[in-house]
Amino acid sequence: MTTKDDDGSLGAEVSSRLDELFGDDDDSEVTPVSTVPSDAVSVAGESKRKAGKAVKPMADSASDNLDKDSPIRNLKALVFSIDWEITDETMVDYLVEVKRLMKEYKNDKILSLFLKLHASIGKYIKAKKARAHPDSIKFVASVYKNFEKALLTPGMKQSQKKKLLTVEVKKFKDFKQRVLLRDSTAEPVHVVESVVVADDQRTKPISGEGLSKETKEALDYMLEQIKKEIKAEFHTLRQIIKNLGA
């Protein structure tokens, strides 16, 4: 057996450590090695394992129970799309589709309001992107889900639809609160630009975060508008129902 010379002290330290750990006179049982280790982690060829996806889901492959001709099929695909990828392109497509549906359902106040919520959250995400509150994406999914229910559940009463809408409006309101809370207490994003803050003060937003005030105002405005519209429409609905009863 040929040997190369080891370096003095390092080599000696390593060798003695290895002998300690994996000594020759180790008396622990030496069992014959089986050819199939019991702790084998994965075996190739199992096709049942879920594979990773490298492609965005297309409209006609989105897993759903929507009719091929459903008017909201595109919107659903776009909602799924946002779940996979958030870019200007996806957000623009989403907002365009929402606008198109708003025209289509302009005579249905509840559905219109649902779509207004879609538009609001879409604009927020498009503006903020990575800085958006994580709940905004969940809200997209949730408002769509209830919108789909309201639109497609056969025989659903107006009162039930109203209920679904109210749930989403409340969520939006809560979401807005969370955004405001986060933006007003947020630590500055970049470590390099950190600002020292006294305990009894709120963290000053750095200049890049000045947008949050605008966003706040935009959200406030949208929420007020939505509230007004809902109130007005329910008032009208109540009048109609009253007149029918009369």
């Binding site: 594979a51 490298a54 779940d83 996979w84 958030i86 994580p134 994406i137």
Partner: protein, 130 residues
Amino acid sequence: MDFTIEFDKQQIESIENILQEELIDLGVQSVILMDLAGNVIVNLENGGASHDVYSLAALAAGNYGAVSAMANIIGEQEFSLLFHKGEEESIHFSKVVEDLLLLTIFNKNVSLGFLRLKVAEAIKRIQVLI
């Protein structure tokens, strides 16, 4: 002969801060910055279930390497999304620079689309440091 970037302590700390802010604080379970030889450079967890990070990194390097080779065979420079979806937890891969990978393990409370935005942001910030 040596191709892996050598980091100093300051860089590692800065990278840890970036990953904490952009990803762990988002609710991501675990983030691993690693090289393509399977070595772990930075590992952050959110305090939940702990994984065997070294085995994960070894497999991830192999996985990423294999998929890159497949991309080349079909005429692509690389795939823009390498992501494995589980029922509860999923894994996302992203290249940082030529020999560095960012591995993110996240559960279904985090949307992939949003994660990808945050990962891109984190990578942009890390690239400045390297």
